[in-house]
Subunit: 223 residues, 2 copies
DNA sequence: GCAACTTTGTGCCCGCGTTCACAAACGCTT
DNA sequence: AAGCGTTTGTGAACGCGGGCACAAAGTTGC
């Protein structure tokens, strides 16, 4: 048996997806000078049920005090450790168009060990221009800079037509985690993780529900 | 009984979330001049299993031809109808900072009935400036323009500190579907839908998996 | 017109995740 | 020190969604 307080093996994906929100909620209450929270309070701040929060946290270990709650700073540290935010994560962003620039300038980026380590664009006219204190590098420097700066996470903010080739270049350079903003499904080796953020999808889902709201009469049966 | 070919009641949320991707995949094959696809081909383009695709589509009705496949244009139309994309969806964007401008300029926005009908910012210095051919309106005009232009979907691209009050203003004006880019959980009435897009969350999840990749030795038991 | 082949649509089962219910643990009060 | 109220942590029940297997239905070839 193990005397190690932290077991944290096999954290369910659904739980992992919620941990960042707990972290943000904890940061909120910490800003209000509060040093201890109950699962009920924290759950409300994170938009989930308290049972869900407790079950999620139970996967990382037992960091609460019964009859009291959770010590804010300690819990935040444990969640950060579980997510791997205690280490540095240099990120590369490819595609310095409207979206890419906004992302590079995004201050929320700098939370939890992340920082923009390099930005790329194939447009020669942009090469050298500064974006958030970083010069835009040409694609030919990608492999070199990725290795030199230990970049492990790549963000794709190019048009869909270029996204797959950019993806290939990043993977080739050794990047195994990708955040894709282009509207297409990337083909990658098994050991590469891709997460996609798609505005259109979100709007479509909203439209679906909105449509349902406006026609409630014909709900029970076929018309 | 009903002779209506389209029943489409009770479409599971998980299916709704994938329909936009099917639509995009269909648009891709249509661009290649193909008029008929099998579930296998389409599923591959959408990054899912063919059984999943067929099960999803079965919730909208029976639009395939056994032994042949799906007629591209027809299926696209049916999915569009199910999602409610055959009607017009005027969208308001609040917060014309880095992200808001990128969103307003985003061409992919204009697919499937969506179009930016108004953009807002509280900064008086920005009032009247053009973003994607639209003048930035002051927040005092929000209720009026929302009603005048039939806006039903709102996008929040302000800092977190302002997001809840902006949300309240939108809901007060009658908007019942929101897309929130600010990193916080909005409090809304039950009949309002909120979807959140959060860059940090995505990065955190990537970091978690990336961390797991780099320490595979200690997988079986506690160290 | 029939047989062989192809592809869709769906009933069924299984696994994951959420919620419920409750016991265990802790602080506080007396 | 003992009892009480509070809150955590977790086993168990339940419901949803994904994948398998197969029947239904249509096409093509002869
Ligand atoms: N703008 C948005 O709000 C928004 C929202 C959601 C998704 N997206 C998606 O994000 C992507 C970028 O959007 P955008 O509005 O910034 O587009 P954009 O046209 O403004 O910028 C694209 C940039 O990528 C660069 N680029 C093109 N091909 C490249 C390549 N092979 N290698 C490196 N750089 C390359 C271009 O030079 C350009 O600077 C698109 O796929 C778009 O669909 C954008
Ligand atoms: N930039 C990104 O890539 C990015 C990525 C993810 C999330 N976000 C989030 O999106 C939001 C906007 O980011 P940004 O980089 O564009 O910030 P920004 O500071 O560039 O822009 C914010 C804009 O909102 C306006 N604003 C502030 N309060 C307002 C109010 N009460 N009513 C109307 N307008 C108001 C400001 O005048 C400003 O123009 C933030 O919450 C940020 O966390 C940004």
């Amino acid at each position: 048996m193990s005397a190690d307080p932290a077991i944290r093996r096999d954290i369910p994906d659904a739980t992992v997806a919620r941990l960042p929100e707990y972290l943000r909620a904890l940061s909120d209450v910490a800003d209000r000078g509060i040093s201890s929270v109950s699962s009920e309070e924290l759950a409300q701040a994170a938009g989930v049920r308290s049972t869900q929060l407790r079950k999620d946290l139970s996967h990382l270990g037992s960091y609460g005090i019964r009859g009291v709650g959770y010590e804010v700073e300690h819990l935040a540290l444990e969640i950060s450790r579980a997510l791997g935010l205690t280490q540095d994560w240099p990120v590369a962003i490819v595609g310095m168009g409207n979206l890419g620039r906004a992302l590079a300038a995004y201050s929320g980026f700098a939370t939890g060990g992340f920082h923009v380590a390099a930005v790329f664009d194939e447009d020669a006219a942009l090469a050298g221009a500064l974006v958030a204190d970083l010069p835009i590098s040409p694609m030919t420097d990608l492999a070199l800079l990725v290795r030199e700066r230990g970049i492990t996470i790549g963000v794709i903010a190019t048009p869909a037509a270029s996204a797959q080739s950019v993806c290939n270049a990043l993977v080739e350079a050794g990047v195994r985690s990708l955040l894709n903003f282009a509207p297409l499904v990337l083909v990658v080796p098994d050991d590469v993780d891709v997460r996609r953020v798609d505005l259109s999808t979100e709007l479509h889902v909203l439209a679906f529900h909105e449509q349902r709201k406006s026609l409630p009469p014909e709900l029970g049966v076929a018309r």
